[in-house]
Symmetry: C2
Subunit: 191 residues, 2 copies
């Protein structure tokens, strides 16, 4: 399983997080982010369209991996089994770099209303991607929409546990799949 490439891109994200937390999102310029990361401004713009997109740049990759996971689940898989394949696929693509970035991303997003909004839109986009992939498998709409929301909820809950843990070799898939199992069990006690 390919891991996200480390290098200039991750240094830029780390530098941006630190600057956003230190001096605020509004006050931070692309030039400062590039300088802190030790790259040129044109390198910044080869990776990101602007400073806001930088913190959600993984969204398209996440959406693609989730949709591929759903599509590649065995033909007889239930909707939540397909979501579990998607969670394993996206979790396996996130390694130590993502785990190290996690708490800084979280702090940076928490520091800016604008970044919180962008982050909320990211969740909506991920749920839409999973829902569309389930519908493409023939899952009927309300089931697909619910399973899509549960997949994203499981990812967010598992990711939150993962980035707060102490073990640097901890496996994200374990946490996202546990969270999905918890939500599946929860669905039985909704009334």
């Amino acid at each position: 399983m390919a891991r996200w490439e480390p290098g200039a891109r991750e240094r830029l994200v780390l530098a941006a997080c630190d600057l956003f937390i230190e001096q605020g999102y509004d006050a931070t310029t692309v030039a400062e982010i590039a300088e802190r990361a030790g790259v040129t401004k044109s390198t910044f713009f080869r990776h990101f369209p602007d400073k806001r997109e930088l913190l959600v740049a993984g969204q398209e990759t996440l959406s693609r991996l989730l949709a591929e996971g759903v599509a590649e689940a065995p033909a007889g898989a239930t909707p939540l089994e397909a979501v579990a394949v998607a969670l394993r696929r996206v979790s396996d693509a996130m390694g130590p770099v993502n785990r190290e970035l996690g708490p800084r991303l979280k702090a940076a997003v928490a520091s800016s209303a604008e970044l919180q909004e962008r982050d909320a839109l990211k969740s909506v986009g991920l749920a839409a991607a999973v829902t569309a992939a389930l519908i493409a498998r023939g899952v009927p709409d309300p089931v697909a929409a619910l399973a899509g929301e549960m997949g994203v909820l499981a990812f967010k809950r598992g990711y939150a546990v993962w980035i707060e843990g102490d073990d640097p070799n901890d496996d994200l898939a374990r946490h996202t799949l546990t969270a999905l199992g918890d939500l599946r069990a929860a669905s039985a006690s909704l009334g």
Copy 2:
């Protein structure tokens, strides 16, 4: 059940929607919105902090009504029964003015990435409000989080049907409660 007060506030929202659709969100000023609505700029600022908040100004009211509905459900209500009380409460507070605004709000939000982001954050806020109200009733966390997401999904799905229908006296509660029933049924076929 009190309906949202019509008047300057609704005229401002209507004017803003129309201007955003006609000439774009970025190009529209508060002065233009106030002029189109036939009020002064200071009247605008008595109702809204800025043009962006205008389109999601009902969010606090929605969150409060949803949380009150959950809190006031009978002691023995299941999580989804409490969510149904919340949906009825918030649906009953929305009348013909909201129904008339709906399609224009939808078109305005669709026209601007910034408004889409703000709208996504609104969904996240509503789900958090329902989840917190359920936890306050003693519903355990994963069940509360799932029921909160389902409540917001039911509201959005029912609202979308309501604003697209032909009957001006149509009842929003009928659609949101039908959507919740569909999601409840869907949860049985998740696998």
